[in-house]
């Protein structure tokens, strides 16, 4: 067993894939309980899907550069948010429907582009990513993002917690507090786009949701949820990686996400704030 692990770790692509996963887990961990508490899971997923045309155009123009891919994704995201926001201004349609409509059009444009463009990458690689094919500069970008995320969240934690929990009370303390929520949203989108690099547009939201949900079943403070979701995220990467190496042709990204899903399921069944809480409070 130990020999097998050492042997696998001697392959650079295994080490890089694992490291990328650990960086992503660290980048998402401080954000994720806020993503859940602020109901951003689906909106975040939608934005990640909608990055597809931006990422593809950046890829066609500049190749596999991490920064250019990220910038392409970011521009697509900004466009989606701007269009959905402009449409919802004084509209009789609910804003989530407008976001849903906008992102799915972006996603389809991206799908058409990727399928009809003559590139070396196929649609699947854009959709579910290739953690094992991660490049050095992408790894650096992911690590830098993890650092930025942890530092930023350390700075804005308290005001953001107040704003999330009791917005009126927060407003009474911080008269110009818009930078707290805006800063959080920008950070969230940046981490999400970094995640697109490894997990593709379909799965990039996974590490923002699953490890934190698992953690919530065990923990009842924001900080302990953050630490637990980091650990669960790392576990999912390692577990997914081991499975991928054992089962031939198992795609790394989805396997890691499935592992995270399994951790959530177990946590939900066993944790004090999962199923047990539901059963106790209904009786």
């Amino acid at each position: 067993m130990v020999e097998w692990i050492i042997e696998q770790l001697s392959y650079p692509f295994v080490r890089k894939g694992l490291l990328a996963g650990i960086f992503l887990a660290a980048a998402f961990a401080p954000l994720s309980p806020f993503v859940i508490q602020r109901r951003l899971s689906l909106a975040g997923d939608a934005l990640a899907h909608g990055t597809l045309p931006g990422v593809f155009i950046a890829f066609s123009l500049f190749g596999l550069g991490s920064f250019t891919l990220a910038i392409g994704g970011y521009i697509a995201t900004l466009l989606i948010v701007a269009i959905a926001a402009a449409l919802s201004w004084r509209s009789i349609i609910k804003s989530d429907a407008l976001l849903g409509a906008t992102y799915i059009i972006f996603f389809s444009i991206g799908g058409v582009m990727v399928s009809s463009g003559s590139t070396s990458l196929n649609l699947q690689e854009f959709l579910i990513g290739t953690p094992l094919g991660i490049r050095d500069e992408m790894l650096l970008l992911t690590g830098a993002m993890a650092l930025v995320s942890v530092v930023t969240m350390f700075i804005i934690y308290r005001p953001l917690a107040l704003q999330t929990q009791d917005p009126a009370f927060f407003a009474s303390l911080y008269r110009n507090g818009w930078w707290v929520t805006q800063g959080f949203m920008v950070l969230f989108v940046l981490v999400l786009i970094t995640s697109v690099n490894a997990f593709g547009t379909l799965l990039s939201i996974s590490f923002a949701i699953l490890p934190a949900l698992a953690a919530r079943a065990w923990a009842n403070s924001m900080v302990s949820i953050m630490f637990a979701s980091f650990i669960f995220g790392v576990l999912a990467c390692v577990g997914g990686m081991v499975l991928t190496l054992h089962i031939e042709y198992a795609p790394t990204g989805p396997t890691m996400v499935l592992f995270a899903g399994a951790i959530w399921l177990v946590s939900y069944l066993l944790g004090p704030f999962g199923l047990r809480f539901t059963l106790n409070s209904s009786s």
Partner: protein, 238 residues
């Protein structure tokens, strides 16, 4: 401590209420009453500096750098936020520059005053509405401000607890703090508040609570219909 003169409040270009005059002095509890949409929340948001005054004047005679203590409405509050009671109560000192010294003892004594010490480690999602409101009162106390705004503090609180909260609010006034309270219960306003602001029909009346809450004014400001007032009188006089 607070003087409002011929103020017009509203948001954007929408005027909610005109010509509001009122004042709050230290050691006093002032009620704000009115129908839905009469401008109670707009007034509070204006006083907190979240909305600008459309015209008129708001004058503060206090250190404006120390924030006003504020008890927000319970229904705007995320009750499933992962947090225990002690953390919630401590968050009253988060926005303050002079935190640190004695903060934890202030939290403890505030918890004791609202009879919540035994719940100090309880996650807030396990509290009843009344217990949660008690914890939020404790947070307002930790803010330790000379001016306190309470937004419908008695919602989700049963009658017996309401009495306890009233005593607490009275004790704040005795300590020399000024309290402004949005409320619905007329009898509670009569018992607790020396003066009251009644908002409605695009304006407001301010003065001694017993005079402001007369049936004529309540009808004139749209707070009650004439029929409701008649029924009340019949009930009161047999």
């Amino acid at each position: 401590m607070l003087t409002v003169q011929s103020a017009t409040i509203g948001y954007g270009r929408t005027v909610v209420a005109r010509d509001i005059n009122m004042s709050v002095v230290s050691g006093e509890v002032v009620a704000v009453l009115g129908t839905n949409g009469s401008g109670k929340s707009t007034l509070v948001r204006t006083l907190l500096g979240l909305q600008s005054l459309l015209s008129g004047e708001v004058g503060w005679n206090r250190d404006e750098h120390s924030p006003v203590a504020y008890l927000s409405q319970l229904d705007e509050f995320d009750r499933h936020f992962p947090m225990d009671v002690t953390t919630l109560v401590s968050s009253g000192s988060w926005g303050q520059k002079r935190r640190g010294l004695g903060a934890s003892s202030r939290v403890e004594s505030a918890l004791a005053k609202v009879d919540m010490l035994k719940f100090s480690k309880t996650p807030i999602h396990q509290l009843s509405g009344g217990q949660l409101q008690r914890a939020r009162f404790a947070r307002a106390m930790v803010q330790d401000s000379d001016f306190i705004i309470l937004d419908e503090p008695f919602s989700a609180v049963d009658q017996r607890r309401e009495e306890q909260f009233m005593n607490l609010i009275n004790s704040w006034a005795h300590e020399g703090r000024a309290v402004l309270m949005i409320m619905h219960d007329l009898s509670a306003a009569l018992r607790l508040c020396s003066r009251a602001l009644l908002l409605g029909e695009g304006g407001g009346d301010f003065g001694k609570t017993s005079e402001i809450l007369s049936s004529e004014r309540l009808v004139a400001r749209g707070y009650m219909s004439q029929t409701q007032v008649d029924v009340m009188h019949e009930a009161a006089h047999g």
